[in-house]
């Protein structure tokens, strides 16, 4: 085919393309800081654990929303399923956390695969309603079968075994945080590889232009089902981490606010670059902590206000304004990390 050597191929551009998936310095710094937090902030371990779990949950949503363009208002369906399965598995079968995590992941994956059929077709509105509907159904099922789930009182008496048979979960939550952080890091880097792969680019192609994606040979249904299942697995693992590290699961894990919060996290951090989930989770959890400390009753007021400002003014514009306030030396560095 390349019979026409009329112009020279710019190899520099190809080389730059090949460097694309490489880790940037700021990425190493970010993960270094996350690890460092375990050492320098031992008393904040429960809060950090919460952040790590929320970040994983948000990364899960980013896989379908940011990359494949599937909007969801019911991502808690998978989070909650992971949480209940992990808690029940520990209570009735094996207390080992890693085994529980695997079982919860499998359960959420199966639920994801089953419900993926419902989101393959239809407009954004259809998808919003269908995902919301699935989460509502699961919430009420957990409510109805309270003999198994503990209903509104929650599932009491979940005792986790020591991690890897050696490290018991401590009261200070440091083992828990290290556990969640490790799982987050492993799953993040798997997701990072996936989004840089042909499969990941195919998802973006489907999101950008489904008609053309099909025309270049992409079977959208299988791809979307696959990423939906993957995202469900991630969300299930996040839910399982919550249940395991707090030793508790209640109807709250299926609650609508979980699905809404995680969407909010992505709005704060930005969709379609994975780090949005991480940064959004840190900011959201901090805001929650600070605002609910200041005004316990009304913290959602501020979250609501922020949400409106973010979508109307746009993250980019706010970022540029914020950068203008920085000293010139810092501006270049700060400009690098936006999607």
């Amino acid at each position: 085919m390349n019979s026409e050597p009329s112009a020279t191929v710019p190899t520099g551009d190809v080389a730059q393309f090949a460097r694309g998936p490489r880790m940037r310095a700021w990425e190493w710094a970010l993960w270094g800081a996350a690890l460092l937090s375990w050492f320098v902030l031992p008393r904040q371990a429960p809060l950090l654990n919460e952040m790590a779990i929320l970040a994983l949950f948000a990364i899960s949503l980013d896989l379908i929303l940011g990359y494949a363009g599937i909007v969801s208002l019911g991502h808690a369906a998978f989070f909650g399923t992971g949480a209940y399965v992990a808690a029940l598995f520990a209570k009735h079968f094996v207390a080992d956390p890693v085994a529980g995590l695997a079982v919860a992941a499998l359960a959420a994956a199966m639920l994801g695969l089953l419900t993926s059929v419902l989101v393959l077709r239809g407009s954004d509105l259809t998808r919003l309603m269908v995902t919301l509907g699935v989460a509502l159904i699961l919430y009420e099922l957990a409510n109805r079968f309270d003999k198994i789930t503990g209903g509104a009182d929650g599932l009491q008496g979940v005792v986790m075994g020591p991690l890897l048979g050696r490290f018991a979960f401590d009261m200070g939550g440091r083992v828990a945080y290290l556990y969640s952080l490790t799982v987050l890091i492993v799953l993040f880097f798997i997701a990072r590889r996936v989004v840089h792969s042909p499969f990941g680019y195919g998802l973006r192609a489907i999101r950008d232009n489904p008609q053309r994606a099909t025309a270049i040979g992409i079977g959208s249904n299988v791809r979307l089902a696959a990423v939906y299942t993957l995202a469900a697995t991630y969300a299930g693992i996040a839910g399982a981490l919550l249940a395991q590290t707090t030793g508790f699961a209640s109807l709250d894990v299926y609650d609508f606010h979980r699905s809404a919060d995680v969407l909010l996290v992505l709005v704060i951090g930005g969709v379609g670059w994975l780090y949005g989930g991480l940064i959004g989770a840190v900011l959201f959890t901090l805001m929650h902590e600070i605002l609910s400390g200041l005004t316990p009753q009304y913290w959602q007021f501020w979250i609501g206000l922020l949400l409106i400002v973010l979508v109307l003014a746009g993250r980019g514009r706010i970022g540029r304004m914020a950068r203008r306030l920085l000293p010139p030396r810092w501006r270049a560095a700060a400009g690098k990390d936006s999607p």
Partner: protein, 255 residues
């Protein structure tokens, strides 16, 4: 030229009471340079949509290499080498041209579902993509997001995306519509340089272009094929002049 590569038999498409495609039976021979012409609303794009599977026919059959593909989904037809361009650009706006083309090449090579190795790390794919973009005069914008490309470049990318799949049958839906003359010459040169065994069906309004490019022409009127023949025959055909070329011969239409 032996057996037809693409063949339709009694193809029909109704939209409610409107007949968009009427009993269309035609053959595309291997390596053909065939043009499909017809007045606005004749059903040319509908026919392409039927051939590629974007629309489901109300009746009739489509064969690719003798195999019935009437019920085959679009992406499978594409993988079998039945590839099209769109009248209105259909691009991946958030990807760069290099990413778009590399993806299309990866899909064609069967590595599109690979989920572990980075697309950009597949040197063979990246090199082929860069070579194709260079051939289509897109080398200077390879790393620019598609959304910010000017129209002419977007049109070239539209063509490049189809070529990336290494089509065996290429359906071109008004490839140079609205393109500035420099880019339109670049597109025509690229099409002229396609390997001889690639079968091309060109849908076009520009008669100069049609007669320059095509050896065979089918004329579609009101969803049905009015006449078919070599370029010379079509140029001389009185009916064609009446309904399409707008010549002085009027009155031969009897409904």
């Amino acid at each position: 030229m032996t057996a037809p590569v693409l063949e339709t038999r009694g193809l029909q498409k109704h939209f409610g009471g409107i007949v968009a495609t009427q009993d269309v039976s035609f053959n595309l021979m291997r390596g053909a340079r065939h043009a499909l012409i017809g007045p606005n609303g004749a059903g040319k794009t509908t026919l392409v949509n039927l051939l590629t599977g974007l629309l489901v026919p109300s009746g009739g059959h489509i064969f690719l290499d003798g195999t019935d593909i009437t019920a085959m989904p679009t992406h499978r037809r594409a993988r079998k080498g039945l590839v099209r361009t769109f009248q209105i650009n259909q691009l991946f706006d958030s990807l760069t041209p290099l990413e778009s083309i590399a993806l299309a090449i990866a899909e064609h090579r069967g590595s599109g579902a690979h989920f572990w190795r980075a697309l950009a790390r597949d040197a063979a794919v990246a090199d082929e993509a860069a070579a194709l973009l260079t051939r289509l005069h897109l080398a200077d914008v390879m790393l620019v997001p598609t959304a910010s490309l000017p129209y002419g470049k977007r049109r070239l990318l539209e063509i490049a995306l189809a070529l990336a799949s290494q089509p065996r049958v290429l359906l071109l839906d008004e490839p140079v519509a609205g393109v500035p003359s420099t880019e339109s010459r670049e597109i025509l040169d690229t099409l002229a340089a396609l390997p001889a065994d690639v079968t091309v069906l060109l849908i076009e309004h520009d008669m100069d272009l049609v007669f320059r490019f095509a050896t065979h022409i089918s004329v579609l009127v009101n969803g049905a094929i009015l006449v078919e023949g070599t370029a010379d025959e079509i140029a001389r055909d009185a009916r064609v002049r009446a309904v399409y070329l707008g010549d002085a011969v009027v009155g031969s239409r009897d409904g």
